[in-house]
């Protein structure tokens, strides 16, 4: 018994040592993403992308002579797990964290990274993420307010809908996007007949949709995630609600079409242009490498946005010649010339928002592919 215990203790101490040895020789990059749970598809896309980029950089000699070590923490898409991940990654000594996919998780982890001086880059689009004044946070996507204004303009001025329903779940991202869209629609003189909320993952949306049906809408705008959006669309068609369905950016995932089944046809999705349509040579070569390594396309543009965030931070460190996170953030907040990114030019405003933003409205075809309905 005693010997067993001694063996166990020595194994334990060995493994503890193994963790601390070489701490100074590598650049630790954290990935905080939903590897399991409803958004696992997106989370795994982020992790795969980060590992691929790290591999490519390491093959070229690393960053300023240091190899990148990727440490992943699964936040399961929940705020609670995200807060634990943040502490865990900080304790492991990461310099930057890529993720998370959802705004809720990014927000739950933000303060911990800020206090530790760890750079965080997320595709979370909730406006609140950049309203706290944390210099550590760099948004690699475009904020909700930009999408909301585009959506409102399209629904009210281009399509001239008379009775619009705005629907969301309770997450930071979805609620923020829906509120911003509702406000923007009203500002343009549009008529929002109902602003409803669903509980994410509850699957049974027919009671809410039945209520919506009685309002006789001609358009439904859903700010929320694809795992609910696909079901909503299917149940909307099943209930015979004739309104046009518009999904916000987080509905842009192949699973939306699979979930909605035959009802997916003629639903619309509002988002930035999709990965396959990205024109730059960097995008083409990275996506080709991704397909070669993992045998599938990146699940959506969100993973690539996160990769761009990581590339920008590493670029800043290389330009500064050291790994100081504050200096890297200062560099990124004051770039004169944007860096060429996979998802377009990357430059950050002083508040950590990514500059720019272009949106398209995509119509889902019978075979599940998209056709561009309207390009900004």
């Amino acid at each position: 018994m005693l010997r067993k215990r001694a063996l166990f203790m020595s194994l334990l101490s060995f493994s503890l040592f193994a963790g601390t040895v070489n701490a100074e020789d590598v650049l630790k990059v954290g990935v905080q993403a939903p590897i399991t749970g409803s958004y696992a598809n997106e989370g795994q896309g982020i992790e795969n992308g980060v590992r691929l980029l790290a591999e490519q950089i390491n093959a070229k000699g690393g960053v300023l002579g240091k190899k990148i070590e990727v440490i992943t923490c699964d936040d399961q898409g929940t705020a609670m797990a995200a807060a634990i991940c943040a502490k865990d990654l900080v304790n492991k000594g990461v310099k930057m964290v890529i993720g998370s996919y959802t705004s809720t998780c990014a927000e739950a982890a933000q303060k911990t990274y800020f206090k530790a001086g760890v750079l965080q880059t997320s595709d979370g689009t909730a406006d609140s993420l950049t309203e706290k004044g944390y210099w550590t946070f760099l948004r690699n996507s475009f904020p909700n307010s930009a999408e909301a204004e585009f959506a409102a303009k399209y629904l009210v001025e281009v399509k001239k809908y008379q009775r619009i329903v705005v629907l969301s779940d309770f997450s930071t991202y979805a609620d923020g996007l829906a509120n911003a869209t509702e406000e923007a629609i009203k500002k343009l003189g549009g008529n929002v007949v109902s602003r409803d909320k669903i509980k994410a993952d509850s699957q049974n949306f027919t009671p809410v949709l039945t209520n919506i049906k009685s309002k006789k809408p001609d358009a439904i705008f859903f700010a929320g995630y694809y795992s609910d959006g696909g079901l909503l669309r299917a149940q909307q068609v099943a209930l015979g609600i004739k309104a046009d369905f518009y999904g916000g950016d987080a509905n842009d995932n192949p699973d939306f079409v699979k979930l909605a089944g035959s009802a997916a046809k003629d639903a619309f999705i509002i988002n930035v242009p999709e990965p396959a349509a990205l024109p730059t040579p960097i995008a083409k070569s990275f996506i080709a490498d991704y397909q070669a390594k993992y045998g599938e396309m990146p699940p959506s543009i969100w993973g690539l946005m996160n990769i761009d965030g990581m590339r920008a931070i590493i670029h800043a460190m290389e330009q500064n010649g050291d790994f100081d996170t504050k200096k890297a953030a200062d560099y990124l907040h004051n770039m004169d010339k944007p860096l060429d990114g996979i998802t377009g030019p990357i430059a950050f405003a002083k508040d950590g928002n990514r500059k720019g933003g272009a949106y398209v409205v995509k119509r889902i075809q019978e075979d599940g592919s998209y056709s561009n309905e309207y390009v900004q």
Binding site: P207, S214, G230
Partner: protein
């Protein structure tokens, strides 16, 4: 009025799924006085088994024969899992204190849930459209073919179960075992067989419920068993746990209650109201709505 009728149709559909799952809880409780917490996860597992049978055994065929085969094969597989579960997790603890069996049930639940995750992965899987998307519009109330199938098949299964328990000799053995296992044994009833039978029936009905969830909602995740298991458990308690017609009634009531609260009050509050209703029922009728005939629990 059409809104009311639409919510009624929605509530009956979801309610019959709850009822099917609730039967598994209530039958096991009736005979063994044990809450089989793994039941919800068995329901989830059956949806995944059904999906695998569809893709690998049936070669993605969508004919009527294929659909029936998927139901039968899934129910048979889950019946086997149910028997194994009883042998491994519950039979060794039959004479142990009740708390040990409950902990064993919780453990089994985690093992099954994580087993699903390891076999089929953590991602949401999409169930095929096996039932054609046919809808009927009755003056604003839309009812789909799948809803009709779910409702009718659930009712048929429930009536068949009721007749089986009330009218056959095996049913009499089940009822006898639920009243007093020792006395039943003295009367020549093989209680082990009865318990195995209970698990076979409960798991198969749960399997049908799991396939309905897959067919109706399309998206299935490894952890969905928790949600449906909880609702079905509440339904079983509402109706009077251990009572078969009680589980059916409880499931239907819960489905309707949920639909009307979501529709007329707020979907945000549906869960809160569900638990308030449960508390009220337990205060007013601690044995559940149909739970008064304590002596004849099954």
């Amino acid at each position: 009025m059409d809104i009311f009728l639409q919510q009624l149709a929605n509530g009956l559909t979801i309610g019959s799924m709850f009822a099917l799952v609730a039967l598994g809880y209530t039958m096991v409780y009736g005979v063994m006085k044990l809450i089989n917490f793994a039941h919800g996860d068995m329901v989830a597992a059956s949806a995944f088994v059904g999906l695998t049978i569809y893709t690998h055994v049936m070669g993605q065929a969508t004919s009527l024969f294929a659909v029936i085969a998927i139901f039968l094969l899934s129910a048979a597989s889950m019946a086997c899992v149910g028997i194994i579960l009883e042998r491994v997790a519950y039979r060794p603890l039959r004479t142990a204190p009740r708390l040990s069996a409950v902990v064993s049930a919780l453990g089994a639940s985690m093992i099954i849930q994580n087993g699903i995750m390891l076999i089929w992965g953590p991602r949401m899987r999409i169930f095929p459209e096996l039932v054609p998307q046919v809808y009927w519009d009755f003056g604003g109330v839309v009812i789909s073919l799948i809803q009709v199938i779910i409702l009718i098949l659930s009712l048929v299964l429930m009536v068949a179960l009721y007749l089986f328990v009330e009218k056959t000799r095996m049913g009499a053995a089940i009822r006898a075992s639920s009243i007093d296992q020792d006395a039943a044994r003295l009367m020549g009833i093989n209680v082990n067989n009865v318990i195995a039978l209970i698990f076979i029936i409960g798991s198969s009905l749960g399997a049908v419920g799991g396939l309905f969830i897959g067919l109706y909602y399309r998206g299935i995740t490894f952890n969905m068993g928790w949600q449906y298991g909880l609702y079905a458990f509440i339904a079983a308690i509402m109706g009077g746990i251990g009572n078969i017609p009680g589980a059916m009634l409880g499931g239907m009531l819960l489905g309707l209650f949920n639909a009307f609260i979501s529709g007329y009050v707020s979907s945000t509050w549906a869960d809160a109201f569900t638990f308030i209703l449960l508390i009220v029922i337990l205060i007013v009728r601690p044995t559940g709505i149909l739970g008064e005939r304590v002596a004849e629990k099954v």
